[in-house]
Subunit: 231 residues, 2 copies
DNA sequence: TCAAAAGTGTTTTACCTACACCCATGA
DNA sequence: TCATGGGTGTAGGTAAAACACTTTTGA
């Protein structure tokens, strides 16, 4: 494509914050870098955007190359473009985030040599990350805290079939506070967005919990009603 | 700054969506372009980012150069980075948005020759805009629709002193629906975030309305209480 | 005295909150 | 039979929704 636009030395990267919920903990996907700068550091999966790809595609490609994860729908979080954020020059990064369910997912494993490893790490004890990735992570966490009130992100993190206790634990972890069991259940069931299954938990050494599924159709119907002032 | 990073031909732009409320209508700030591509078209104020400036600063500079408006606090909306969005090559744009009050504001007027004119245009009858600016505008509108529920953006659009009817009209315009007058007033006054003034409207040929001010201190106090499940 | 907008209250309904005990299961 | 988590109901308070008439003012 011919161009008479000014050429800047700006470069673009994408960094991905992928959340999952496992063993009662909120986790994110990290890599160990195999390239300078910040070689051997832990970092969010991130790399350069090519000139011939849209940024959403680039995000998918980069996540795949560094972690082996494919087909994950990510949304933009924010752009980080401070002049000093990268030691080697002007690098603007677009942060993407997603929430996924671990069950059925392969173990993460880099496809490219850019990363040595890829693995899940609990969010409550994160080490120092490369670049400004800690800042990016914190902004993502804030985002999902807000989003859980108006969007069914919790169900994206849980297995397809889950118990009400699992759902409550997830809310508690994200919101970082205890919730009342009876009120939580009443409220959730009242929404009518959970489908009760005929199945129960297996292999637990206590009373097995009923399992539920998220009913996306009912959810969509419910949230078409907009908030209002009684107009 | 020395760099061994790959040099891409990507260029970066910023586009600004500035909302205001005037004569009962929601408006945005547009320019008439004086440069190719899309010379003579209407567009959002936008231009290239320099390599030596942070993107937030760049946004401020660009808005000033194209419209003469200064010191306006803008927030990031989204990045638009489709390969085909600019006719001359790969251009990634960061959209910023802001809400401002018109009263006390100078008429917009370009400082740079990049724009021929700058002016306010009602959002309900927007013409076709250059590039993908219509898409950018629509995303901004959606954003403020959501945001008005959890953020005091309405008060940024109104004059410092306003009547309850003005406030309600603004909500109605943004949400695009009629609201009940009594319920709206009750709810707003109940929040306790409005300070009643000793003044009334001037120069109207009907019963003059009481004027109010937004009380940011009380607002901040109110919204520190988080949403909860009764935990 | 008319037109135009300001201002005002009550009832019903829905949801939020606080709170404590019995049940089912496998080890 | 015990330990572990599963599961349940009610009463009181607060906020949302629906709804229509009187008041003030200037022209």
């Amino acid at each position: 494509m011919e161009t008479n636009l000014p050429k800047f030395e700006s470069v673009f990267t994408i960094d991905c914050v992928i959340f999952a919920f496992d063993a009662g903990k909120l986790k994110i996907l990290l890599i160990e870098r195999n390239e300078e700068p910040f070689k051997d550091w832990l970092a969010l999966p991130g790399n350069f955007v090519n000139t011939d790809e849209g940024i959403d595609q680039a995000a998918e490609r980069i996540l795949y190359e560094l972690t082996g994860l494919k087909g994950i729908y990510m949304e933009q979080l924010h752009i980080f473009g401070d002049v000093g954020r990268h030691p080697q020059g002007r690098v603007i990064t677009v942060a993407y985030y997603a929430m996924i369910r671990l069950s059925g997912q392969k173990e993460p494993k880099p496809v490219s040599s850019f990363a040595k490893k890829a693995f899940w790490h609990a969010t409550d004890m994160l080490p120092k990350l490369a670049f400004d990735h800690t800042k990016i992570f914190e902004k993502s966490l804030q985002k999902i805290k807000n989003k859980i009130f108006y969007s069914p992100i919790a169900f994206e993190l849980l297995p397809e079939k889950f118990s009400l206790t699992q759902l409550q634990q997830l809310y508690e972890v994200i919101l970082n506070k205890k919730l009342d069991k009876r009120n939580f259940r009443k409220k959730m069931l009242n929404y009518g967005i959970l489908k009760e299954l005929d199945e129960k938990q297996q292999g637990v050494s206590y009373r097995a919990a009923k399992l539920y599924k998220f009913d996306r159709r009912k959810y969509n119907k419910l949230f078409q009603k907009e908030l209002s002032f009684g107009g």
